[in-house]
Amino acid sequence: MSLGAYLAVATALFVLGLAMMIARRNLLYVLMGIELILNAANLNFVAFARYAAPAGGEAALRGQVFALIVILLAVAEAAVALAIVLHAYSLFDTVRPEEPDLLRE
């Protein structure tokens, strides 16, 4: 498989995640979109690392290490984001991202 194929999948996932964040009216969709984007990025990291250093070694693992840290960040982000969503839901009684607009007033 060529690197391009992996990149294509990653791009598709990235755009889908972006679309999900922009177009769907639910904070949880935003959360899911972010996860998709992070996954796409991870795929890129790993694919580049694999093709950059096919022989293995530390260089080949760098991408994986980065991806691992991204996954860790995603976990933290998901926990906090979910807490924010629930918080917003209990305050505004909605999960639409455009409703909480207290700062505008």
């Binding site: 498989m1 060529s2 690197l3 391009g4 990149l7 294509a8 999948v9 791009t11 598709a12 996932l13 755009v15 889908l16 995640g17 679309a19 999900m20 922009i22 177009a23 769907r24 639910n26 949880l28 899911m32 996860e35 998709l36 996954n39 991870n42 795929l43 790993v46 694919a47 694999r50 093709y51 950059a52 096919p54 022989a55 293995g56 530390e58 693992l61 991408g63 994986q64 290490v65 840290i69 996954i71 860790l72 960040l73 995603a74 976990v75 933290a76 982000e77 998901a78 926990a79 906090v80 979910l82 807490a83 969503v85 629930l86 918080h87 839901y89 209990s90 305050l91 009684d93 639409r96």
Partner: protein, 173 residues
């Protein structure tokens, strides 16, 4: 043959993403996302990142997805979700050409040693552990990640709690 496996996993990943984006029911979207995560896990395997593939399964499917499902059960979906916005279609229309374009660019660029079949991957779990802890290269990111997780845990618990103490008797539960 690797092509077939790749096509399978890529189809699962992208198909899951598409369903997640376009399905009217958010619960279906969340379950479709599981397909995406599984597909990406498979792609990781094909890329020789077996440790990462299992981590992907464990964290995304076992952790984040369950969290999202919990969130779904605890919130009320918006009724206006029933009608999808046109933006969605436009973006989806952008996604496919963009992916093809990136693929073209990527294959046109001269990446080092990207030609020909790659040697078989080696198991990476132990090496990643060494990288993180023994060779000092990634010790600080590792510690920072641990610190971040702790902070996120405390923060999430703090955030999810009631913002104000409920007024006596006037709580509209």
């Amino acid at each position: 043959m690797e092509r077939i496996a790749f096509a399978l996993f890529a189809a699962i990943a992208v198909g899951g993403g598409l369903v997640a984006l376009f399905h009217r029911s958010i619960v279906h979207s969340a379950f479709a996302l599981m397909g995406t995560f599984l597909g990406i896990s498979g792609l990781f395997v094909l890329l020789g990142a077996d440790f990462l593939a299992v981590v992907q399964l464990l964290i995304y499917v076992g952790g984040i997805l369950v969290l999202i499902l919990f969130g779904l059960m605890l919130t009320k979906p918006d009724p206006s979700e029933r009608k999808l916005r046109r933006v969605l279609l436009v973006l989806a229309a952008v996604a496919v050409p963009a992916a093809i374009l990136v693929a073209r660019i990527a294959s046109a660029a001269r990446w080092a040693a990207a030609e020909g079949p790659l040697p078989d991957p080696k198991p990476a779990a132990r090496e990643i552990g060494f990288l993180f802890l023994l060779k000092d290269a990634y010790l600080i990111p590792f510690e920072l990640a641990a610190f971040l997780l702790t902070v996120a845990l405390v923060g999430a618990v703090f955030l999810a709690r009631q913002p104000h103490p409920p007024p006596p008797g006037g709580e509209d539960r």
